[in-house]
Symmetry: C2
Subunit: 252 residues, 2 copies
DNA sequence: CGACTAGTTGAGGCCAGTCAATGTTGGTGG
DNA sequence: CCACCAACATTGACTGGCCTCAACTAGTCG
């Protein structure tokens, strides 16, 4: 469960830095989701000057680990990440499932060290947002400053929803909500909301939802049984998302 | 469970604005915990110019509700608050337990509306931090800018820990962790870590920990039975916090 | 082809939830 | 001051949803 990758402790395995002569936020397909949202020409250009590096992370590679010195935020350009929180006693839980366009590493701002672990679920690529320069730039560009805070705040709200899920919903409701949430996020990225491929194993999904993998597996089967979804391993098709929604919203 | 206070829907019941001729962050006993942390004389003074209003919220009064327009953050000066997240289907869960010196309202930054509800657990008082002015000031004062981000980020980390608690810990571990956490926070505020009065009912604690009130009540009794704590309603004395810690940290 | 990882399914047990009765506390008005 | 009431808390008996343990299957990669 720990590192699937052989070893080299505390190294960013599978991480290859590459300097691009130009990486343009202004032409990036994700600019309407990402940090540059709403920036004008000039602002975009100045951001480009600061965001000069990308990192490739191969499947199962770690982007950062708890305790690593915080130097940068990362914008996911391609691929998918999970973030994991670790307890002192070795217990761990998937805390986030992050798609392209999202910013990760925000937990590191608090005490200059990352507090959780980010692992790529498939071969991925992130833009490095060096925190110092970004922060200084944000002093001059109100929109950028606002975007940063906005992203943090929305994460907070997302986690509130997650806490509600973990604290007061049944296993079935959790899975239904998870599927609807993923569907919605794929949709805002221009992909199908009806049909997608999950990048997590049953065990990772279970951990994320506060369940056990057997329970998740059973639930996939039973939702398929009742005709709400169609599952083939990690490929999921939502056949009746209205019914899924009803599963979640049944008032007590 | 909803509003214990008679009615006046969507009004800030029990809220009384009062302008103080001078409210000084620089002399506030909480300045080492709060937003002004690390600010120099000049910065402190400029913050003071912006933080001119305080609000009194009586027990069970709401400081803000979901959907209210976001205009300000609030620093708790005196008292205790809980924040509650609400689901569309009426379910609700206590998402936070906030002591003096903490900032609440951060969830409102994301979409210019608060997404959760803040209610006072006892007669309390907050400093109003009007967001626009604070934001503009943060452009000029790097420390203030940093503090804002830091507070947000730490909240994120705190919620990660909460997700781990809700997702992978037993009822007993949850309560033990809760008590240790509260003890620690009282300690950093200069109060006893051994003895304190909880400001939440059993039901609120249960909701916060993803349990039912009966379970929490039983756990209080059984922890007392085994000599780890002493309980008298909401007054708690930790008799053996090392043992509590061991309860939490038992590796699986 | 064998070893390994991921996923499915079944049988049984336990932890926490549910329902219900009773006890305790604190605020209010006579 | 005390009686009363409502909110809060405790405790017991029972139930059930999810976990645990375990066997088996399907796909993948060297």
């Amino acid at each position: 469960m720990r590192d699937a990758v052989p070893a080299q402790p505390n190294t960013c395995q599978g991480v290859v830095a590459l300097h691009e002569l130009r990486s343009h936020c202004g032409t990036c397909g994700l600019r309407t989701l990402c940090l540059p949202l709403g920036l004008d020409e000039a602002g975009m250009h100045r951001l480009d000057e600061v965001v000069t590096t990308r990192i490739r992370v191969r499947r199962k590679g770690m982007l950062y680990r708890p305790g690593d010195r915080f130097t940068a935020l990362y914008a996911i350009r391609i691929g998918t990440f999970k973030t994991i929180v670790l307890a002192e006693d070795g217990r761990e839980q998937v805390a986030g499932y992050h798609l392209a366009g999202e910013i990760i590493g925000l937990d590191g701002i608090g005490d200059d060290r990352y507090t959780c672990q980010a692992a790529a679920l498939e071969d991925s690529e992130v833009c490095v947002l060096p925190f110092g320069p970004i922060d200084r730039l944000s002093a001059e560009i109100p929109t950028l400053r606002r975007n940063l805070l906005r992203i943090l705040s929305r994460d907070l709200t997302r986690e509130h929803a997650m806490m509600l899920l973990l604290g007061s919903r049944s296993a079935e409701e959790r899975l239904a909500l998870f599927l609807l949430n993923v569907a919605e996020r794929y949709q805002t990225r221009g992909y199908s909301a009806r049909e997608f491929v999950l990048r997590m194993t049953r065990e990772e999904i279970a951990s994320y939802l506060g369940l056990k993998l057997e329970t998740v597996s059973r639930l996939f089967s039973s939702l398929q049984e009742s005709g709400l979804i169609q599952v083939q391993g990690r490929a999921v098709k939502l056949l009746d998302s209205a019914a899924l929604r009803r599963l979640v919203d049944r008032r007590e």
